[in-house]
Structure formats: structure tokens, C-alpha cells
Symmetry: C2
Subunit: 511 residues, 2 copies
């Protein structure tokens, strides 16, 4: 079992060593694994704001003042990589090269199976079967430039792309002849595009975004040289509109460009779009605002949740983006960006703008991703997604309840399938289940591939491990009241109040 614990790359470490010509015949693959880039540098606490945080997309690290992982800048890890080596002159005859490569790939595939099985922390639906599309891997499919404008390069998939875009435009209630959009490489590209459109509509606009927005939003501000104001959040992770109002009031002279989170990265919190719009309008920003909705994950879940506030272009929003590899599931990152055609036309009528009619960020664009999306949307349809969303929400509630029953502080936002809980003490456990962590909290994002069985497997292991971590009483589970509120914290300090509130089964708690 030791071999299967950890990041599952132990064998690969050995394979890498063999390919790289080091450690040949090493008797202990563990020795090699110790040097793997994912194994080294266990997280240490660094002072907030000291140097750089280890924020990664869909991971965590945006919270200011919270402990961050220490990163060794510029650490260049090569020991675990599969070096590219010049083929020997006689390789064609001996076939040795092919054999080595096949063996590396087979081991790598095994590690992918293992890693996919033990994955819980990132909002990726890992359950998909695109066997029918394997036939297309032989083609260099490239939707270069605009989805709606002809290119002479014939090996493209615009027919599928536009079909997918239409589906999303319908979902968000924008007419075919009133929208523009394209299939992006990831959620970040959607945010980069939405905020760029906002800036071009209001060149002197100030960008507002809650502190818990995805880091790509702040990256955009920096890239685009925009003034950016961070807005406080409520304990749920939602934008605090009282603070938003305060910040608007001192910048009344400049238009507002707002990033609205339809599901934050860490807590899955959904900003109150209606309240954001109301706050803008009541503070004299009637027509001087542009709203980009970052719907990376929940943009595709919310429409299927009853009572959820709707994201729709019938409200005065400018753009919405969603990821394709998250709820839909896709072998590679991708996303969908939908905006109002009038904005793109306004941009394009500026002759110098982008120096071309290509209003995408990337130019050359992956032509396979639209076909993957088209395939899944066609197979599942609205009804299929609705069922999956319901299942995810149900399973997320199950996880939260089971965690609390086990004495683990946990929070689940009403419209979310992201369960936030006390960070497991042991980093090996965190890596094994690929949990994204920030400070004292971790989260599990319940995706369609996360079954009750998988959750039980995880829960049982967590409970078992916790019993050993905290067995001698010298060490206590962390307090997460600051992150998720006292009412959701079960640390030694807050357990009692929680208990009083619930008048419940404290006796069952394992801690």
C-alpha cells in the first residue's frame, strides 16, 4: 500500500531516472521519488505578504493576511522530468527508444489512473468518455481567429464551436444576433477577455473585485494597467456590498468595471449580482458600469439550481465566462466566453484595435475543445446537467454533514458544492487527495464523478488519520472560525457553542 500512497509517481520517478540515465538499477524507487517536484518542499508558514504566495489557478492563495506556502523562487526542478534524449543512430533497428518511450507512457498512464481516482480538491469533472472522438486526434484542428469570420485554413471546427456558443447564449438569454463569443483555453482567458472588453468600453474605468476573486482578475488589472480596488467579503465569501458602496463613493468620477464571482475559488460563494447592480445604480453609476461574471464553475451549475439568482443578459451585464473542463469535463482546459456583440463591434470599429479583426486573446485556438464540448452538451442536454447538479449538491450536503458528525468543522454555501473544512494536519494526506488548501482550511469540490462511495472512502481515511494526529491531546485541530464563522468551527474553543446551538450528538465526536 505504501506505493499507492503519495502522489502515485514513485514508479514514474524511477522511470524518469532511467530515461535520464541516472539512478539506473536503483533498488529503491522511493529514493528517486523523494526528489520529485511534487514531493519536495513541504509547506511552511511564511509571513503574509512576504515574497510570493503559492497561488495556483483553482487553488488558493488570494487571501491577504493569511499564511501562505513558502515558495523558493526560481527553483528549477529537473530530477523528476523525462528528459528528451537524442536517438542513437541505430535506434530504428534496435527499437530500444520506442520501447523505453512506451514503458514511460505506460507507467505514466498508471499514475494518471491513480491520481484521477484520488482526486477531490479541484473543480474538475474527471468522468468523461470521449472514445468516439479519438479518431480526430490525427488532425491539426485550429479555429484561428474569430469563430464567425472565415479563415482560409480549412482544418477547423467552427461548425461545432458556434453550435456550442449558441447553446450558452441561449442559457444566458442573449439572442443569436446579439452575442459574440468564443471557446477559450481556460477560465483565466475568459476573465482576461471580459475585463479587457470592460476596459475598452470604459478606458478610465476602475476595476472592482472582491478579495476572494480568482487571482486572474488581479493579474488582468496588472497586465492592462488598470486601477484596481479590492472589496471586502462576507464570511460566506460573497462580496460585501456595504464595502463596495463605500469604495464606489470615493471614486464617483470614474466608471466602474466589476468582476462578479459566480462561485469563488475557495468557498464557492456566489456574489449577489442583483445587489451589485442595485448598489451601482443607487450610487450614481446608472450607465457607467460594466459587469463581467466569472462563472468558472458555477456558471454552468446555477441555471439548474432552483431559487438561485439567475445570471442572464436580461440584466445589465457585459460578459460571462465559464470553464469547459470543470463541470462539463474535458481532457484539456477550455472555457466559453459570451459577450454582447455591440461591445465587440465597438472595439473593432477602432481601426488600430488589436491591429486586426481578431477580437480573441489567443489567435490560434484549440479546435478539439469545441468538439468535446459539443459532444457532451448533445449527449446530456439541459436535463442531464440538471440531474448532475442536483446529485452534486446532494452529495456535498452529505459530505458536510458527515464531516460535522465526525467533529470536523465544515461549511457549505447554499448554492455551492464546495465543502470547506479544517485543513488536514498531514501534508501527505493533503497531496494524496489533492486538496487545495489556504491557511487553516481545505476544500473538496463535489463534481459529478465524486460518488458517495468515494466520499465515504475519503471520510473514513480522514477520521482514521485524525485519530492518530490528535491522539495525544498535545495538538489540537485548528480553529477555522475566522475563515468560515464560529458557527461552522468545531475547534476546542468553538465546539461548545456549536454544540449548544445544535443540542446534538456531541458524544459521537471523535475529537
Amino acid at each position: 500500500m505504501v506505493g499507492s500512497v503519495g502522489n502515485g509517481l514513485m514508479d514514474l520517478g524511477a522511470a524518469a531516472a532511467a530515461v535520464n540515465g541516472v539512478g539506473k538499477g536503483a533498488a529503491h524507487p522511493e529514493a528517486v521519488a523523494a526528489a520529485l517536484p511534487m514531493e519536495v518542499e513541504p509547506p511552511a508558514r511564511a509571513g503574509a505578504g512576504a515574497g510570493a504566495g503559492a497561488g495556483v489557478e483553482d487553488g488558493m492563495g488570494n487571501g491577504e493576511g493569511t499564511p501562505r506556502r513558502e515558495i523558493v523562487l526560481g527553483r528549477n526542478v529537473h530530477t523528476a522530468s523525462f528528459a528528451v534524449k537524442e536517438p542513437e543512430a541505430d535506434d530504428d533497428e534496435t527499437g530500444e527508444r520506442e520501447a523505453t518511450m512506451a514503458s514511460v507512457l505506460a507507467l505514466y498512464r498508471r499514475s494518471l489512473v491513480e491520481r484521477t481516482k484520488h482526486h477531490l480538491g479541484y473543480p474538475y469533472n474527471l468522468d468523461f468518455d470521449y472514445g468516439a472522438l479519438a479518431q480526430l486526434q490525427h488532425f491539426s484542428i485550429n479555429n484561428l481567429g474569430d469563430p464567425f469570420i472565415e479563415s482560409n485554413y480549412g482544418v477547423h471546427s467552427r461548425q461545432f464551436e458556434v453550435g456550442v456558443l449558441d447553446w450558452f447564449a441561449r442559457l444566458w438569454e442573449l439572442e443569436k444576433n446579439e452575442y459574440w463569443g468564443y471557446i477559450t483555453n481556460c477560465g483565466t482567458e475568459g476573465n482576461l477577455h471580459g475585463i479587457l472588453v470592460g476596459r475598452e468600453v470604459f478606458p478610465d474605468g476602475i476595476l472592482y473585485a472582491s478579495r476572494e476573486s480568482h487571482y486572474s482578475v488581479f493579474k488582468a488589472a496588472r497586465m492592462y494597467r488598470m486601477d484596481c480596488v479590492k472589496v471586502d467579503t462576507l464570511i460566506s465569501g460573497e462580496i460585501d456590498c456595504a464595502d463596495f458602496q463605500r469604495k464606489l463613493s470615493v471614486n464617483r468620477d470614474k466608471p466602474a468595471i466589476i468582476n462578479v464571482n459566480i462561485g469563488t475559488t475557495v468557498k464557492g460563494a456566489v456574489d449577489d449580482l442583483d445587489l451589485v447592480i442595485k448598489t451601482l445604480q443607487e450610487n450614481g453609476f446608472k450607465d457607467r458600469f460594466y459587469i463581467h461574471c466569472d462563472g468558472a464553475l458555477f456558471g454552468l451549475m446555477m441555471p439548474f439550481v432552483k431559487k438561485a439568482p439567475q445570471v442572464t443578459f436580461k440584466k445589465p451585464i457585459g460578459s460571462v465566462s465559464v470553464s469547459g473542463h470543470k463541470f462539463v469535463g474535458c481532457p484539456m482546459p477550455c472555457g466559453v466566453q459570451i459577450t454582447r456583440l455591440e461591445h465587440i463591434n465597438a472595439l473593432s470599429s477602432n481601426v488600430e484595435y488589436l491591429a486586426s479583426r481578431d477580437a480573441t486573446i489567443m489567435g490560434s485556438r484549440n479546435g478539439h475543445a469545441p468538439i468535446f464540448l459539443w459532444y457532451t452538451l448533445n449527449r446530456k442536454g439541459y436535463r442531464g446537467f440538471q440531474k448532475e447538479v442536483q446529485k452534486c449538491l446532494r452529495n456535498a450536503h452529505y459530505l458536510k454533514d458527515r464531516l460535522r458528525e465526525a467533529g470536523v468543522g465544515a461549511m457549505l454555501n447554499e448554492l455551492s458544492s464546495t465543502v470547506v473544512f479544517e485543513r488536514p494536519k498531514d501534508e501527505e494526506f493533503v497531496r494524496r487527495w489533492q486538496l487545495a488548501c489556504e491557511g487553516n482550511i481545505a476544500h473538496v469540490v463535489v463534481m459529478p464523478n465524486v460518488t458517495i462511495d468515494k466520499l465515504d472512502y475519503f471520510l473514513n481515511e480522514l477520521v482514521e488519520k485524525r485519530a492518530t494526529w490528535y491522539q495525544d491531546g498535545g495538538c489540537q485541530p485548528p480553529c477555522i472560525a475566522r475563515d468560515v464563522g464560529q458557527e461552522n468551527c468545531l475547534c476546542s474553543l468553538h465546539k461548545k457553542s456549536y454544540c449548544r446551538n445544535l443540542r446534538c450528538f456531541c458524544k459521537d465526536w471523535s475529537v
Copy 2:
């Protein structure tokens, strides 16, 4: 034969109509094809600078003052797309949905085969076999964030990515512990990254780029709010360093950020890197410049061309980017970006920079692309690429010579496999061979998959068609002297001088 001429999507047009529920039972697929996005809107001449040009990546459209295609802004073409339709309740039983989808995919695959076969205009190597990697399509592989920094998401391919990056760093002579880089989504992302690094090194720097630079360079300037100065080009397409000097001399107070083209999009011209550096140094910019080398296509060919000026980090350059789907060949667009580690460390030491340690543009990154690249680099090696480069250059010379023999004006830069020639009169022919055109010129990029047989097929068809286009003498082939120089033009005006120079086989000319 009619069916195979055109964009090969006629049958698909019919399929789209069937899927969309329109035109069911239409007797004439041609009627549907007429509404395809690639078929409509034959190019018309629009005044230079009027509205927007039809520049697409790897296409053309950067030349100022040259005629451009007219684009109907915001035209939203949906008739040819494959709509996503809600499955019927009984679809699971009837299997009708699956059958329709399979039929759409089969027809689409057929069109891809046809389009791949007739492709000549874009610098994509369409000859690859990644059958061994089909097993990986089942996994959601995502190298999110930095290639060298651990992420808890375990389903990644950093081991392959770093191996590939090492190979390129070695190619461009930068030590393992001195470089930083990542595998991008396309050439544009490389340019966006390189120029961003340049701007962060010199925040008040002015961006210089030749007029024939890829449009993404000017897009970057706009996105990043940088001052940008366009530099003239020589007839070959290379940057004109005399003009560069003039433009530097009036901006001595600001540092210079320069985009150097290692192969321009249209003419495959290689800017003289050494002369660019010399010009900078002689004009007082000793340490106040940053050079980004856009090596989209030739970045990977030049190292294998004898006598070619070398792109190397031993010269004072800051970054190099190259595309992965071009010379290497890959099912999806991708690229490699290599820069100096010191620049990335400098950026990252700025706490607020990018709001995270992720110095990539995109965040979530395609984990399959690195494996494709790793696979090809391992199989072919330096020697394999060298052979392919030599073959491409040889075949490009063959094409240029045969064109001239046939009386077609043509140019081929010394270090290039891009053959520029007179634009074919008929747009159907242009689309059939997927030629990228600008004004009066078109080009063929001779890639490893372009054989002599394919070139002969193309040449024979061109000669045959030309005979009909120009048979009555009322219409003459266009003059391309302004684009490629008098010595390469064979229009009625310049033919004689060309003939005098060559004292050659005028009698053989078909025109």
C-alpha cells in the same frame, strides 16, 4: 469532382442542416453549402484602413496601405453550425441521437481528411502520428500554474513539460538553472508573455516592431497600454535597421523593447538579430533594451540551417518563443516560451505582481500538448529535425523554380521555406489550397508534410487554371513588384527585365 472542389464541407453543410432540423431532405446539398461561413462573402477590395482588415493569425493582413478583405462586422453565421439540441426523452432507447452524432462526426472526419490533403498555406506540419498517445485522451491533464512549482492537482504532465523545456533551453543555449519557461497555448501567448516580461523589466519602455511583425505584437501593445513604434521593412520583409535607428534616435530617453521576427508571417523573413543589437548599442541603448524573439515557425528551423545567424541566449536577448503545432506538428495549437530566470524572479519579488507566483499568462494549461511535443522530440531528435529542415528548404526551392518556369512571379527568402507568389485569381482555388493571401500575393509554406508530389499536383492545377483565367488576354496577372521586388515579378511590365537578367527560357512560359 465538383464535390471535392471548394472547402470540402458541402456534405457537412447538409449534415448540419439535418442536425439543425432545417433543410431535411434537401435535394441539393450545394444549396446548403452556399450558406456555409467559409463559402460566403467572397473577398472584395476595401479601402486601406477602412474599418477592419481580415487579419488572422498566421494569415495575412498586417500590411498597411495594401488592399484588405472587407469584413462585415459582427456577422453571426449560424446556418452551417451543428446545433446542440436537447435529447428526446426516449433517446436512450432509440439510439437515434447517438446515430446522428456518429454520422456528423464521420462526415466531419471525411472533410478533415480532404482539407488536410489540400492544405498548403499555413505553417502547420500536418504529418504526425500520435496513436501511442490516444490512451491519454481519457484524462483531464492540467499543468496549472508554474511548470516548476508543485501544485496539489496530481493529474498533470510537468515531468514531460520540463523535459521539453530543457531541450529548447539547450537549443537556445541557456543553462538549466538560468532559464524559466512554459508550454503555451500558441505563438500569440509566447509573444504576449515575452512582451509583458519586457514591459515589467522596463515599465516605461517603448515597443518597437517591424510592420511585418505578427499582429499579436500590436495586440500586446494595445492590451498592455504600451507606446509602440512601427519600423519599416526591406523588400525581403526584414526589419529596416536604418529606419530603426531613426526611430530610436527620437526616443533616446525611453528604454527599448524590441520584437525581433525569426521568420515573418507573410514572407518568412528573418530579422537580422545581430544588426538589431548593434543598432541599439551604437545608439546609446547599451543596457536599456529587452529583445523578444518571435520564432513562431523558424525558431525551430534556423538552428538546423547552416550559415543562418543563430538565435542564442549568449546574445543579449530576453526571451524566445516558438510554436509547437507548426514545425513539430501537434493536434492542437501550442508553443514554447523560454526566458531568463532572473526576469521572472524580478517579477515575482514584486508582491503584488500577478497576485500570485504564477508567472504564466493562462493559469490552467493543456497537459496533453507537452506530451505530444516530448513524444516527437524524442522520436526525431536534433538529427531528425535537421533532415526535415533540409528537405523543406529543398522543396521550397523546387516550388519557387517551378513557379518561375511557369511564368509565375515568386520569391523565396534565403533562410525560409515560405514561397511568396502572385495571388491566384480565383478565390475558389485559393480556398481549395487554403492559401493565405494579402493584397496581390499569396504564399505556400513548405512543411515536412509537403512532398514534391503534392507540389506537382498543386503546380499542375495552378498552371491549368491560369491558362483559363488569362486566356483571352483581357486580364493580366497582377504586378507584385511592390511586394517582392521587380526582380521577382513576372507581370507583363517586369517580365522583360526578368528575362534580360536571366537570358533564359522565356519561350517556355505559359503566359
